[in-house]
């Protein structure tokens, strides 16, 4: 009897852990009361606009969702509306049911902030042609049969679905300059989540930035195969430090890399949020996102009767991508250099992947003076010269 009881308990514990794991952990911050309208356009009428945002996590994660929440707060303040937040939404079928519920409740502009919401959102968009659907980090061709979706051709993808993302590589390049200047050994490390084009692009841009001030700089990559895994990220960071890296960059959702770098007296380039307070001594800077302008522009467009259904790719020029604050160890000369490069990126006279760019084997992938096409950037699957590691994971 006793044995059975112990098993029963283990069983209950396992099941409860399972539930907790699938329900995600941290507490939900509830819909914030709308801030008073600051610059409400007297002529504009936003009463027909019902905006909802679908979050993969919670708004206070100090990372990806937090940055989107800042954008949504800006939208609320600008238009004087209240946005419906739905948090911890699973991808797949259950997410589809939630988005369909939102459309049925009359929400006519829905933002979904994770890659995995694409196919479910497209199905809801077909059923609700009156709504406008916006898929962050998405790419419409992925919804076609060829690319693993369910629409026969690109033309069949619903016209009330748009995507939005941005050229984080621009800010990655600039953060690479700060890292290249800060490194004494010329050995940089990069804690990276998954071997997908978005992450590979960031690693390459960071490397090119570092090499622009230290041509011999190398970047060693450690894959964690998780977006959010403080322990795994910490282990990856420590292994890079043990291999001699004195500056670490990352494509992760937690500050574990920064804390590990700080403990060893190394420097740290963050990502997504400007969280220098996590490790002020290690902090150099971070590529960050500013979603507010896009949310405001899109909401105004929908209020005016047009659903922006294009594939929006923001940049530093329109402010969707920004560079965070500088840590105390980034000297004035470096800051000035970064500012010059930033100005050149914004006015279009310079691009991070401006040729010549060589891949790991020394083969030229971008010819001298050329700039790669957007589609080549979006599908990037090679590492540039100087990156140590495999782009295959």
């Amino acid at each position: 009897m006793r044995k059975t009881h112990i098993k029963g308990f283990a069983l209950a514990a396992a099941a409860v852990f399972g539930l907790l794991a699938c329900g995600s952990s941290s507490s939900s911050s509830d819909t914030t009361a709308a801030a008073a309208p600051v610059t409400t356009d007297a002529a504009a009428d936003y009463s027909m606009l019902k905006v909802a945002v679908v979050y993969i996590g919670v708004p206070d994660d100090k990372g990806w969702t937090y940055q989107h929440e800042q954008g949504i707060l800006a939208l609320e303040a600008e238009l004087g509306i209240t946005v419906k937040r739905v948090t911890n939404v699973p991808e797949g079928d259950e997410g589809e049911a939630i988005m369909e519920g939102l459309a049925a409740e009359g929400y006519n502009l829905i933002f979904a902030t994770s890659f995995g919401y694409g196919a479910p959102m497209a199905r809801v968009a077909v059923k609700h042609p009156e709504g406008c659907f916006e898929w962050a980090t998405g790419a419409k061709f992925l919804l076609t049969k060829d690319a693993g979706g369910e629409f026969a051709t690109f033309g069949d993808v619903p016209a009330n679905l748009g995507t939005y993302f941005g050229a984080a590589e621009e800010a990655r390049y600039l953060s690479g300059i700060a890292a290249g200047k800060a490194s004494k050994s010329g050995k940089l490390g990069y804690v990276a989540a998954f071997p997908i084009p978005e992450v590979i692009r960031g690693i390459n841009a960071f490397t090119l930035g570092a090499q622009s001030v230290n041509p011999a700089a190398t970047v060693q990559v450690s894959w964690t195969k998780t977006w959010f895994g403080p322990d795994t990220e910490k282990q990856a960071a420590e292994s890079l430090l043990a291999a001699g890296a004195d500056v670490l960059a990352m494509h992760q959702d937690t500050t574990a890399t920064g804390l590990a770098a700080d403990a060893k007296g190394a420097k740290w380039v963050g990502y997504s949020s400007d969280v220098s307070e996590a490790a002020p001594n290690a902090w150099l800077t971070a590529p960050t996102w500013n979603w507010g302008p896009y949310y405001i522009k899109t909401a105004k467009s929908v209020a005016g009767g047009t659903c922006p259904a294009d594939e929006y790719y923001g940049s530093m020029a329109d402010g969707m991508v920004t560079l965070g604050s500088f840590g105390s160890s980034v000297d004035a000369d470096t800051q000035a250099l970064i500012a010059t490069k930033a100005a050149a990126i914004i006015d279009g006279s310079f691009a991070p992947f401006q040729g010549p760019v060589m891949d790991q084997d020394g083969k030229e992938v971008v010819a001298a003076g050329a700039k790669p096409e957007l589609l080549d950037l979006l599908g990037m699957s090679y590492f540039v010269k100087g990156v140590i590691g495999s782009p295959k994971g």
């Binding site: 009897m1 699973p90 797949g92 693993g148």
Partner: protein, 371 residues
């Protein structure tokens, strides 16, 4: 030292009264709802509004009930997977990992064989391959449990983490058979059209729902009416008696665990022929295999009741998901209720198995303790 003048006595019941079999699960759900109501009240939400919204969005609207039945398709399978093993005191809590293998087995069949065969043959093959993959994943735990008595709780649970890594591996490795070759984005490769079913009308409900019902019914019959079922009952009641009766407990253990693994694998394959059509890495965040444990506990491992508890639990989850949409209630209320139901269902077991009564202890004149 003060003595408490009564004590609680747990007296094991010989036979569970029939009324209790039904009463305890209902009371468990009600108790969980009351428990949830305390938190709702404490955080300023009306329990009555919350629960009526959950009921409406989970059961009483077209999308609600079809989504509930759609989710229950998977949860009934993982539920009977858990219950079928639990009833023989074999605690397969790795249904989650066996489900992942079902995805892999099903997707393999759908991709490799799909173009050559019609739907009527292809869909059963996909389901079968998923079931076989799930059974294969539990083979080693079953073997060491039946031969050496190694705890299946630990082995099946740990294998789940390996299965999750396997799913990530087949999707994130460039050139993987299961990965879509047409794009550098890590996407699963779609199975052939002949290996996927259409949902009913505008709903998300697939014909696999009826397969789940038939399998639940068939296993109920196997357990109640066949010699195999009788052997399971004898072994679970008294392994020693089974030994004297000449029942080969090793072989029965092996079969029960393999069938349990196959049922979770089947659940994974149902996701392939149904809503997903490919290995979708986010499935590993959904916890359908773990939820099967709750479904089984709620039905007290009664294979007939699994259908009811599977639908009930699915409705709570679908309704809970929608709470955020129609109200401002945080999603955690739904998740907390699911956990509370499990704990109360397990707690309710005590009332079903034992006659519990309070006995007054005779307060004897205090004796001086000898030191």
């Amino acid at each position: 030292m003060m003595r408490i003048p009564f004590r609680v006595v747990f007296e094991q019941r010989g036979e569970t009264p029939r009324r209790l079999s039904l009463l305890v699960p209902i009371a468990s759900v009600l108790a969980a709802l009351c428990f949830g109501a305390i938190f709702l009240l404490a955080t300023g939400y009306s329990p009555i509004d919350t629960y009526s919204n959950m009921f409406r969005d989970g059961f009483a609207s077209f999308n609600g009930i079809t989504d509930t039945l759609a989710l229950s398709t998977v949860l009934i399978c993982t539920g009977i997977s858990a219950a079928f093993a639990f009833q023989m005191n074999l605690y397969n809590i790795g249904g989650e990992g066996q489900l992942y293998l079902g995805l892999i087995g099903g997707a393999w069949a759908g991709i490799a064989l799909g173009d050559h065969l019609p739907t009527l043959i292809m869909v059963p093959i996909v389901l079968l391959c998923g079931a076989l993959a799930g059974a294969a994943w539990i083979f080693v735990p079953a073997l060491v449990r039946s031969r050496l008595g190694t705890s299946e709780i630990v082995s099946t649970l740990l294998l789940t983490y390996i299965a999750a890594s396997l799913i990530k591996h087949v999707i994130y490795t460039p050139g993987s058979f299961f990965r879509n070759p047409n794009t550098s984005f890590p996407q699963g490769r779609m199975v052939a059209d002949s290996a996927s079913l259409d949902s009913f009308g505008s709903s998300r409900l697939y014909p696999t729902f009826f397969v789940a019902l038939i399998i639940a019914g068939a296993l109920y019959w196997v357990v109640r009416r066949t010699e195999f079922g009788y052997r399971i009952k004898v072994i679970s009641d008294s392994p020693r008696a089974a030994h004297y009766a000449g029942i080969n407990a090793r072989r029965t253990t092996m079969w029960v665990m393999l069938i349990s693994g196959a049922l979770s694998g089947l659940a994974g394959a149902m996701l392939i022929v149904g809503p997903y059509g490919k290995i979708e890495p986010s499935i590993i965040t959904l916890g359908y295999g773990y939820a099967g444990i709750v479904v089984a506990a709620l039905a007290r491992n009664n294979l007939g009741l699994i259908i009811v508890s599977g639908i009930l639990f699915s409705g709570l989850r679908v309704g809970g998901n929608n709470l955020q949409v129609t109200t401002s209630t945080p999603i955690h209320i739904g998740v907390m209720l699911q956990g509370a139901i499990l704990l109360f269902a397990l707690g309710g077991e005590a009332f079903r198995r034992y006659h519990i009564h309070v006995v007054r202890t005779h307060v004897a004149p205090a004796k001086k303790a000898l030191s």
